[in-house]
Structure formats: structure tokens, C-alpha cells
Amino acid sequence: MKKSLPLLLLLALITTILAGCQSKNDVSPDTASETTGQNAGKETEITMVTLSDYDKYGLNDVISSFEKANPTIKVKLEMYPFNNYFETLEVKLGSRSTDYDLIMVDGPLISNYTVKGYLAPLDSYLKPEQWNSKWVDSSVKAGTYNGKLMAAPMDTSTQVLYYNKDLFEQKGITPPSSDPDQRWTWEQVVDAAAKLTYDTNGDGQNDVFGFGFEQVSRAYQILSLSDSLGAKPLSDDGLVATGYTNSDKFVQAGKFYYDLFHTSKVSPKTDQTQEYFKTGKLAMLIGGTWDPKIFAEAKVNFGIALHPYFAGQKAATPTGSWHLGISETSGKKEAAAKFIEYLTLGEGAKIWFEKDGSLPANVDVLNAIDQDPKYDQFPNNLYRIASYEAKNTAVSRPVTPGYLDWESLYFKAFEDIRNGIEPKQALDGIVTQMDRQLKKYE
């Protein structure tokens, strides 16, 4: 008996595999119910693909109140880690699986998912008059491709300048301002940063640094430099980088970035700038509306100021965030659209903002922020500032089906600049690679 045990196990295994192969040809009960589930009076379950911790940030609250209002629809979450979210979507959506109905997508990737046929247009479910004046312009622009609404904005974002009050006080420097009329210039930031970069223990290495970007070399934050100079990153059709991503103004922005690390040396050569700010090793940090909670937990004495701009140029701030779209292969588009409407236009928008704290894209919720006295004082005044920036200075990232291609090459070029390659050389080198990748979308 003992001898035949492995053989039995083996047989069991092979039987399972063969049984599995067979079920390929069967119509599974799941797919059968998908087609009928919608019009029958019984429950429809829709599946939403989202990020790992989003159930903790209030998505569950939105869902439970949605399910109360729509008792026949149940929303199930499938959550994936942030670092591998795009690869996961690529495999799942690329396989044309029918298991997903709602997809949370990053704003700039909507065009790419549209040309690949991953997303179903929302126009037939959400009428333009319903949302036209309800979302901020930059979010409408990001969610639309070829004149069709492809994904509705869940929220948007902006960036502000955080500073460490204690470090500014120690060095006797006046901190930056949160008044739009006294917005600091980049030149002021670097001046102050130079005084705030120093060696604490006399070992010849600086331990405190003046300034850092939270998202090192990422287009989301770094584009604000070239945007402030009025440089366009791509041609209008979004398919040419040469002459744009290496224009003189772009190189000038690159030079500013280079100088932060190699000339004035006010920025630390680390990816962990948020951690540096949290531990009092960084005096100023460009970061998002999610940061105050983290800084408060780390007991940093911080202040909030407006995002800087170049002297004599215009103020430009990063924007854009997550949208919600319907999978082209979904068999329950009607029910999925109901949830999108609830989350982005209905009651859900308020719940989502209250629980998650991301800057709303919904104009009604933004207006409520402008009026509610709760947002007069620090640190809640952050949302006042953010709301102002979203309406006045926000510049969207370029709309192109090749955004992911362009962004990852942009990142490589700015990482090279950070590592000491001449900005002109780095950008001239990268645009040919960008154009090669963008060409296929023609």
C-alpha cells in the first residue's frame, strides 16, 4: 500500500487536470448567469478592480450605501498592489476575461486603454448634460478620448509645498506663503534651500537638505517645471516628442532639475524624500493632499504653502488622478454604470471624499469645501488651497495613447539627469526613443 501511494497521488493529479480541461468546453454557470442576470429581478454582482488598500479608505462605505440604494446590485472588490497594478491590468484586460466590470484606471492611461479596446464608452449610460458642469475641466479632459467619455473621475489631485517649521525657525528664514499673491518662485525656494542644506555632525557630509520632490523624476510632479515655462511636452496629436520633450524650454526645466542635485546640491540623492521629510532631514517637500496625515503621525511640525513657479512665468500645478471605467468585455455594463454614477455624481462622491480625503473632482463637493468654515484653519485649509489650484493653475498631463511609453522614457531621462547626465544630452537622446514608441499609435 505504501508503495502505491505516490502513484495514487499522481493519478489524482492527472484526473484533476483532465477534469479541468474538460470544463473549458462547458458553459460555466457563471457566464450563463451573466447574460440573464441583468434583466431578471434577481441580484447582479459586479466586480471592481482597484488598489490593495482601497477598501480601508472608504470604498466599502460607498459600496454599502450604494447597495442600500440599489438592493439588486452587489459590488465586489478585487484589489491589487500599487506597484504592479498596471501589469496586472494589462494581463487581465489583455486576456479579454469577462470576470471584470469596473476598472479603476489612472487618468492619463485612458487613451491607451481606449485604443486597445479595454474600455466601453460611457456616453450611452451617462448623458453629457448630467456631468458637463459637474466635474472640474481637467478631469473631464482626462476622461475623454476622441470626443467620447471613457472613464469618470473618482477624484483629482494637486501638489503643495510642505515645509518643516522647526528647521526654518532654527535658521531664521521666513517660510513660504499660502497666499496666492505671494506664491514663492523656484528661485526663492532654491535660495532658502541652500541655507537649509547643512552638515549636523561635522563628518563632511550634509545630513539636512533644503528641498525635494516626493515623486522623484516622475512626470506627474516634474512636468510642473516645464509647464511653468509654458513648454508643451508633446505635439497636439500626442504622437511626436522631438521638438517638444527636448525643446529649449524643456531643457531649461531639465537644467533646473540637474542643478538641484549637482550645482546647488539642495536635494538629497534618495528616493525616500517623504521619509526624509518625516524625520526632519528635509526642509521643503512637494507633496500631495495625502501627506498631512502621514506627517502628523510622524510628529513633524510642518506648514503648508503654495506650489512654486518660475519668476515672471505662470503658475502651473500637477493634477489628475483615478477614474472609473467599464470593461468592454463586461456583461453587466448597465449595473456598472449605475455604480459609476453614484460614486462620481451622486451621494457616493461626498462619502468618498469624507472617508478617503483625496481632492474631489466633483464641483459640488469642491464648492462645499470653499464654503465650509471647517476648512478655514490649518491643516484643513490644505483643501482650500488644493481646490483653488485645481480650478486655477492645474495643468493636465499630455493626452496620448502612448502615455505609458512616454512617461517611462521621461522617467529614465530625468533619472539620468539626476544621476549627472547633461540635460540636453539626456533629452535629445530620449526623444528618438519616444518617437519610435509613439509611431505605432498613428
Binding site: T16, G20, S28, S95, Y276, I294, E297
Partner: protein, 280 residues
């Protein structure tokens, strides 16, 4: 002669300790960070002082949270179940195939062996989409089958066993055949018991391949019920921040468990064919 031996031994020990230092020092940071309060972790990274390596305030909160908030028990169970099942089936299937390659002459042998070699050169990332589609069609998404079955047949394991089987004397098999033994019996009763050290290596290989597996479980499972350790580890890096202490705590446990499993199995290493005195 007697006096040189201890000197030699001391030299060996010194060498081993040097190697151990090179291996362990990067891991020390993970261990130290896992018992620090979250906000202390990057506080002492720079400038480098003794505090970088020695925690001044110790807390086991991260380890407690792993079980309380992250369902680490389930995660461990899943990972171990998947790894052990893969080892068991993988060893049987792989050694059987290797036995055939090492001890039989048959038509298409080199072609089939070339095929086996080819299969372990295929990078998983490239077959991810077709393989995902296949598993989806089999209705295996979000099940243990999806995690175990595709990993059971492993070209490397077959190759490893084959290399060792070829060293076994043919006389052993011939005499058994003369005694009237069946091939299955020769494989189970003679060959496999002689190959414990190889089986340990092969088992280790399969175990580690599952223990380290990340992209595949991420793609084919999505409910908490089937979370495995590497996917759980990646959950600590969120959109806007990283839960360093819990991540390092899980990483420390993820290192200790395979080592603990391996420790008692080490005695099989020294029970090779040599000790049975069969090898020519």
C-alpha cells in the same frame, strides 16, 4: 601533523565567519527595522552611527499586527500548502521523467530531453498572458490549482535528477531485473531511496520557486483566502506610503521559516550513495 590541524580548523572557521558577515549584514537592517517604531526606521539610516544598527526602542507591534490585521496565519498556511504540494508532486513527476532519461534507451530521447531543457529557458513574464487565458478557461482563477499545477512539472528538477541518476551504476538495475523486479519497483524501492540528497536539493528548488513566486499568484488569485506571502509583502507598499516595519517583519518571518524547515533535513545530505557503499 597534530599541531597543524587546529590551526587549519581555526582558519576555516575564520573564513566561514567572514562569509557569514557578508551574507548577514544587509539583512540586519531588515531585522532591526522590524522591531522599531515606524517613524524611527529612517530616522537613523543617516548619518550612520551605532544607532543605525542597534534599536534604542524595541517594539514587537509590527509582528503582532501581522497576525491581527493582515491575517498572516492564512497567508502562511496558503504559502506552505502550495509549496509543499508542489514539492511532493514535483519530486515524483520530475524523478520519474529523469529515471526514464537516465536509464532507458528509446526513440526520440534526445529530442524529448531537448524539449525539457527548453521549458526552463522560457521566461514566465512572456507567457503570462496566454497562460492566464488558459487558466481562466480551465476555471481555475482564484484556486489552489492555479497556484500548484502549472509549477509541478519543472524542467530543472528533471535535469537535476538526470545528472545524478546517470552516476548510479547500471549493475544495480541489472541485478534487480534478474531477480525479477518490475521497473516501477526498481524506481521506488532501489533508485529513490538512494537519492535522498538529490531529492532534498530538488525539493529545495521547488520550495523556493513557490516561496518566491510573486507575479503568477498575483495574477491568478485575488481573494484574501488565497493570498500568498510575496503578494502580501507587496501590499505594504501603497500608493502614497510604505509600512516599513510590518513589511520588514513579514520579510524576516519569510526568511526564517524555510530555514527552519531545511535545518532538520540537512542530515540527509550526509546520507548519500557513498555511505551505502554501492557506488563504484
Amino acid at each position: 601533523m597534530a599541531s597543524t590541524k587546529p590551526i587549519k580548523e581555526i582558519a576555516y572557521y575564520a573564513l566561514h565567519i567572514l562569509i557569514v558577515l557578508a551574507i548577514v549584514s544587509p539583512l540586519l537592517f531588515a531585522l532591526v527595522s522590524s522591531v522599531r517604531p515606524l517613524n524611527d526606521i529612517f530616522k537613523y539610516v543617516s548619518p550612520v552611527t551605532w544607532r543605525t544598527f542597534i534599536p534604542t526602542e524595541i517594539t514587537l507591534q509590527a509582528y503582532v499586527d501581522l497576525f491581527k490585521e493582515w491575517a498572516f496565519g492564512t497567508i502562511l498556511f496558503n504559502t506552505l500548502l502550495v509549496a509543499v504540494a508542489t514539492v511532493l508532486f514535483g519530486i515524483i513527476i520530475g524523478s520519474m521523467a529523469a529515471f526514464s532519461f537516465a536509464k532507458f534507451e528509446f526513440k526520440g530521447k534526445s529530442l524529448l530531453f531537448g524539449f525539457v531543457l527548453l521549458t526552463f529557458m522560457i521566461p514566465f513574464e512572456v507567457i503570462a498572458i496566454p497562460l492566464y487565458r488558459l487558466i481562466d478557461q480551465l476555471n481555475w482563477i482564484d484556486s489552489y490549482y492555479a497556484l500548484i499545477v502549472p509549477a509541478v512539472a519543472n524542467g530543472l528538477v528533471i535535469f537535476l535528477y538526470r545528472q545524478f541518476f546517470m552516476d548510479l551504476p547500471n549493475a544495480l538495475i541489472e541485478s534487480a531485473l534478474l531477480d525479477g523486479a518490475r521497473w516501477w519497483k526498481i524506481y521506488t524501492a532501489i533508485i529513490m531511496p538512494l537519492c535522498k540528497p538529490v531529492s532534498i536539493s530538488a525539493g529545495l528548488m521547488l520550495f523556493i520557486s513557490q516561496w518566491e513566486s510573486f507575479l503568477w499568484p498575483l495574477l491568478v488569485t485575488h481573494s484574501q483566502k488565497f493570498r500568498v506571502i510575496q503578494v502580501a509583502l507587496s501590499d505594504f507598499t501603497t500608493e502614497h506610503s510604505t509600512l516599513w516595519n510590518e513589511m520588514f517583519a513579514m520579510a524576516v518571518i519569510a526568511v526564517i521559516i524555510p530555514i527552519l524547515i531545511l535545518l532538520p533535513l540537512q542530515r540527509y545530505f550526509v546520507q548519500g550513495v557513498t555511505n551505502t557503499g554501492i557506488k563504484e
